[in-house]
């Protein structure tokens, strides 16, 4: 009986991580959907996580307030960062945001108040499976209402052709900044949730590879709609669990195998399924239609 309980606990843990990763994937999608490749979200996640951790460890605030703070803290940073940086063209924006992420990480490594590289530990587990998924559902709801709205179309038009969008009266700077801040808030709240689920925060968890993971979730899932990134997150987070068993039976170390398969899937998606996993059903439907036409 206890093994069953253990099994459930294990899966519960993975499913919780899927929820957090889905939020992170959505945070990257927030800027991708208007055509901006921003890689700052590991930095925003760190800010949210640390803010939440500090509040929990030093104050008696209820968890809801702590989570709200974990969304607002990075949003506050996102505004002064976004204004100059969103003016930069594509690749420069990506690099500037990578730089921001690194600056945040380095600042945390050197901050004695939070034990530098060791980070903070013994954070009580205030985030449950349901808290994580409640936040995820709210985020998905917001995105679903955005799609098909006047602002939603404006964002799509910016992605397609920013110049033309501007001459249609769309204040593209404001729109991009808003999504940048929204993404920051999502990443922050995901950080806050994770901190209260894994009991600790440390700078090493918010490096460049973290934001690359987020980007991978979004791309593998598909960035045409808001449903893609969570699907990608689920796929990429569950896959290593599935593979762990396989790998051990073949005698390969789990670390390299998981990494190899991640890379292979990512490459396969980019080359053969550029619209992500979520476009698979469409692909099957198209193939079936073609076959029916004979």
């Amino acid at each position: 009986m206890s093994t069953l309980g253990d099994l459930f606990l294990t899966y519960q843990s993975v499913i919780s991580f899927v929820g957090i990763d889905a939020l992170l994937a959505l945070s990257v999608y927030a800027t991708l959907c208007c055509g901006q490749l921003s890689l700052a979200n590991a930095g925003f996640m760190a800010i949210g996580a640390y803010a939440a951790a500090l509040l929990t460890l030093h104050t008696k605030l209820p968890f809801a307030a702590v989570l709200l703070a974990s969304a607002l803290a990075p949003a506050v940073f996102a505004v002064p960062l976004g204004l100059p940086v969103l003016r930069l063209r594509g690749i420069f924006l990506a690099i500037a945001t990578i730089g921001f992420g690194e600056v945040v990480r380095l600042a945390l490594v050197n901050w004695d108040y939070t034990n530098g590289a060791l980070g903070l530990v013994a954070i009580p587990q205030r985030a449950q499976l349901w808290t994580i998924y409640l936040v995820l559902v709210i985020a998905l709801f917001l995105f679903s209402r955005l799609r098909g709205s006047k602002i939603g179309y404006a964002l799509e038009s910016i992605r397609e052709d920013e110049t033309a969008a501007r001459t249609m009266g769309i204040n593209t700077t404001l729109a991009k900044l808003s999504m940048f801040v929204f993404g920051a808030a999502l990443a922050g709240v995901a950080g806050g949730l994770e901190a209260h689920f894994t009991f600790m925060v440390a700078p090493s968890g918010y490096g460049f590879s973290r934001v690359v993971d987020m980007l991978v979730y979004a791309v593998v899932g598909g960035v045409a709609t808001y449903l893609g990134p969570p699907v990608g997150a689920a796929f990429m987070t569950l896959l290593p669990e599935v593979l762990r068993g396989l790998g051990e039976s073949v005698g390969l170390a789990p670390g390299p195998l998981r990494l190899f398969v991640s890379g292979a899937i990512l490459l396969a998606v980019v080359l053969f399924l550029p619209n992500g996993i979520i476009s698979l059903p469409l692909l099957f439907a198209a193939v079936r239609m073609r076959r029916e036409r004979g």
């Binding site: 063209r89 690749i91 980007l215 990494l259």
Partner: protein, 292 residues
């Protein structure tokens, strides 16, 4: 003071060598190749294997590792970039594609070499400190500087004086126009990847020798530093990358001397931000956006 300058120059050389590869590919494809750092790392491991397992001398292992890295570059182009040519959003796909291959390379390195630090066998490079002015310089450092200078000179000659170099510059200017002129754009791009990755691998071997430590993640720290270098130097500009490599190497060393080592990495990013905010095209980068 002079000692710091020497250390800065020497570090800068390695950054410059790494960055030149980055910028070459960017100039030709308008893509940041995030697998460059993985080839940097694999080049170093190749040299390690040749010296450690096959007991070749470093003088023989080095060119082989460089060629091996170049070959990896061609492979990278074939599987990650070439299939995407002509697609919409190819810049972002290319970026992610390169991340994928970088992950694959790192996984392979992890499988064969493990996550821990490896070292070159003792005696790989004869250490003999020399006095130069008031500073101490090791023969290794001199060698690194000499090799990188030679490689830069060769690269400059290649780009300015050979037909291939002219073709590379033509493609960097406008692939469409180059195609109309009859240039085999795919072949030129493959050649650019070969050169870029060879230089990256060379930088990797030199880096590993200089610090005598190698692990599958050495590419990561240099990768981000390399971005700062090419931004400062100007994307697509080879001389810019060289100058900026030096500048960042020197800035880093002086920062550590004055402010302590915890600021070392931060200062590269400070430079990165300043450049992007004030003068995004860097020192010698092109102003105009590339034509298709």
């Amino acid at each position: 003071m002079g000692q710091q300058a020497i250390n800065g120059i020497f570090l800068g050389r390695i950054y410059a060598l790494f960055a030149v590869g980055y910028t070459l590919v960017f100039g030709v494809l308008d893509i940041i190749n995030l697998a460059h750092q993985a080839i940097f790392m694999l080049g170093a491991f190749c040299a390690l294997v040749l010296v450690g397992e096959l007991h070749l001398s470093i003088a023989v292992a080095f060119p082989i590792a460089v060629l091996f890295s170049g070959a990896l570059g061609i492979l990278l182009d074939r599987i990650a970039f070439r299939p995407l040519r002509g697609r919409a959003y190819s810049n972002m796909s290319g970026l992610i594609s390169s991340i994928a291959v970088a992950t694959l390379f790192e996984a392979i390195a992890l499988q064969f070499f493990g996550p821990d630090t490896s070292r070159f066998p003792f005696g790989t490079f004869p250490e003999r400190p020399l006095r130069l002015g008031g500073a101490v310089v090791s023969t290794l450092q001199l060698c690194i500087v000499a090799i990188s200078v030679v490689l830069m000179v060769v690269l400059t000659y290649l780009l300015r004086r050979t037909r291939l170099g002219r073709q590379i510059r033509a493609v960097a200017e406008s692939p469409r126009a180059a195609r109309i002129l009859g240039i085999d754009v795919d072949r030129v791009i493959a050649a650019s990847f070969f050169i870029s990755s060879a230089l990256g691998g060379a930088a990797g071997v030199l880096f590993a020798l200089a610090f005598n430590s190698l692990s599958p993640d050495i590419g990561r720290s240099v990768e981000l530093k390399g971005l700062a270098v090419i931004i400062l130097g100007g994307m697509g500009s080879v001389p810019g990358a060289v100058i900026a490599g030096f500048a960042i190497g020197l800035i880093e060393v002086f920062t550590v001397a004055k402010l302590g080592s915890s600021y070392r990495d931060a200062v590269s990013f400070a430079v990165l931000f300043l450049v992007l905010l004030i003068r995004p095209r860097g020192l010698l980068g092109r102003v105009a956006l590339r034509e298709a």
